[in-house]
Subunit: 384 residues, 2 copies
Amino acid sequence: MPLWFNRCYAGGVLISDLPTPCALVDLEQLERNVRRIADKARRLGVRLRPHVKTHKCVEIARIQTDLHFGGVTVSTLAEAHAFAAAGFTDITYAVPIAPQKIAEAADLHCEIDVLNLLVDHSDTVRAIEETAASRGLVLPVFLEIDCGGGRSGIHPDDERVEQLARRMFEADSIEFRGLLTHAGHAYRARSRSEAFEVACEERNLMTALAAQLRDLGAPVVELSVGSTPGMRAIDDLSGITEVRPGNYAFYDATQAAIGSCELDEVAFSVLATVISVQPEYGRAVIDAGALALSRDPGPVHVDPDCGFGRPVAVEDQHPLPGLRLSALAQEHGTLAGPGIEALRPGTLLRILPNHSCLAAACFDRYHVLRGSEVVDEWRPVRGW
Amino acid sequence: MPLWFNRCYAGGVLISDLPTPCALVDLEQLERNVRRIADKARRLGVRLRPHVKTHKCVEIARIQTDLHFGGVTVSTLAEAHAFAAAGFTDITYAVPIAPQKIAEAADLHCEIDVLNLLVDHSDTVRAIEETAASRGLVLPVFLEIDCGGGRSGIHPDDERVEQLARRMFEADSIEFRGLLTHAGHAYRARSRSEAFEVACEERNLMTALAAQLRDLGAPVVELSVGSTPGMRAIDDLSGITEVRPGNYAFYDATQAAIGSCELDEVAFSVLATVISVQPEYGRAVIDAGALALSRDPGPVHVDPDCGFGRPVAVEDQHPLPGLRLSALAQEHGTLAGPGIEALRPGTLLRILPNHSCLAAACFDRYHVLRGSEVVDEWRPVRGW
């Protein structure tokens, strides 16, 4: 039997039969990851509206929303259309909408129960008012708050928060839904306790801001927060109505490094084949490069030598401590370190990506493993 | 007329009608880029075998190979299949082949004139010999040399170069084609003159190595080199038979920074819409994030503040010096700098990506512009 033929199990399709690079989803681990967060959301008394941008995959969202109210969060209108077509009727498009996309979003809102929109600028509020009024619609809209991530959203101290909340509450063509935030800076945490601090701050800031707006006569129905590090760390979400974590279905090497999960909880990996071995120079090359893993630099704030993903054993995903994915070209991943001698052309490895959301988006299909068997093939949504 | 409606021209499809983010190919600029390198290859007396991994697009490869011998270079078997199906019959798969893929490659070789393979390890040579012999085939194979890039390929001083060359030359089931290298370190150049040095070194090293092998009785038919920075810089390729630049069809912000092109020669850009503006905090957000631009860090060795791509004007691609694409999330690109005040939600921008090969691979289609008109839609190959 040739060396590269790592036969992993006896029945059904073999991992070693899969073309590389390809995307593997460990279904049992995914189910455990999903169940833990679903249970936690129930225990903390918040609605779970998972962000499906991580996987863009209807089958996974069905597992995530099982026993919950069925709402999902999306990052593109393409996702919104695909999930609506698959029967999801309560969707939040959690990126500030471009004025040019309001008409398309309004059409989709009319086809399902609700498509919540997000804004942080008066021009966009005006554009929504105009579109909704011209069609005799009332469109549901969240105001985005920047709770410290420094991306989109209005700073909570900014007077525009009150202005826009009041304006939307008073507009005939807008149903002001409440406030939404994403503590993106939770990813800059170095441990679960640091993520806990960020999540507490996010919660406190949002509940205080909602109280302030309610005092001013702008009723805030929903308070929507969430990131995977925060949701894994937090133990009290009093006052919050909804959480939107996404990455927790898969996790990745970054989440493991910052304490959101253990490495063996990562449910998404990229299968790769060794194509070049130069032990004299301490390196080997796999056929998974930047187009299969993304160029996400990973948790360099925790581990400057983290590399571009974590190589693990193909059979059971155990760590290969000697190996480091030190460089990526388009179709080449360079492995460095003392584990090189054990590799030969044809050896299969799995790579736990630094950022599973970006790595998963490299693939048109996921090979679904239950235990050691390839049981299904799922197709994610692509594009915008 | 709303502010975001940047009407660019009067007839046909408008850029402003395109959904964002989307990929734009400036056809006239692409034709100029292609013609310059095609002319140069003829002038220098080398065959041009363009690397199609940059665009993965049959229409563009047809322009590149016009008036040349018609050969192309690919980085995946998926590209090889797609280009073979489109009528390309002379293809080099310029990534060391995984042993598991040899049978598939042999099948494709039988369907067209030639599919050249690449190796740098004796295990792979043996696997090719076995597959070819079992089918009564003779498979054409290049030996990869590492001329300084430090990725795949054997170091020129390594005794395995002679061993493998001789073995392949003597094998009944292999047609030893010659030596192939890619001076990936040309991308670490800071100017065209530094790229010139790298390209001269690449040429000299390869011609010397070929002479040495020929003296030892291992005939080297082909000497294949090439990178876009090297091809733009070099003025003499004596002794080299073939060049394989790829990026020159599009160029990108990195090539401009290291002196391979001017910014206005970049023929690929990503159209994006401003979705959030916070001038008080010196930032705005566009709807092109890591899934539309890739997370390529760009030419940080030349400009540590280069950001994740170069924002340019939508109409004529002129630079917007105040603006910097300072951060990327999955679907958010953060703009920083003094140019923010001029932006409003809905403003269209183009982004010249740091690495057009990775950015182009984010899209399922390219919108092709001739002058200011959208004249076509091309579909790149995906997957492996």
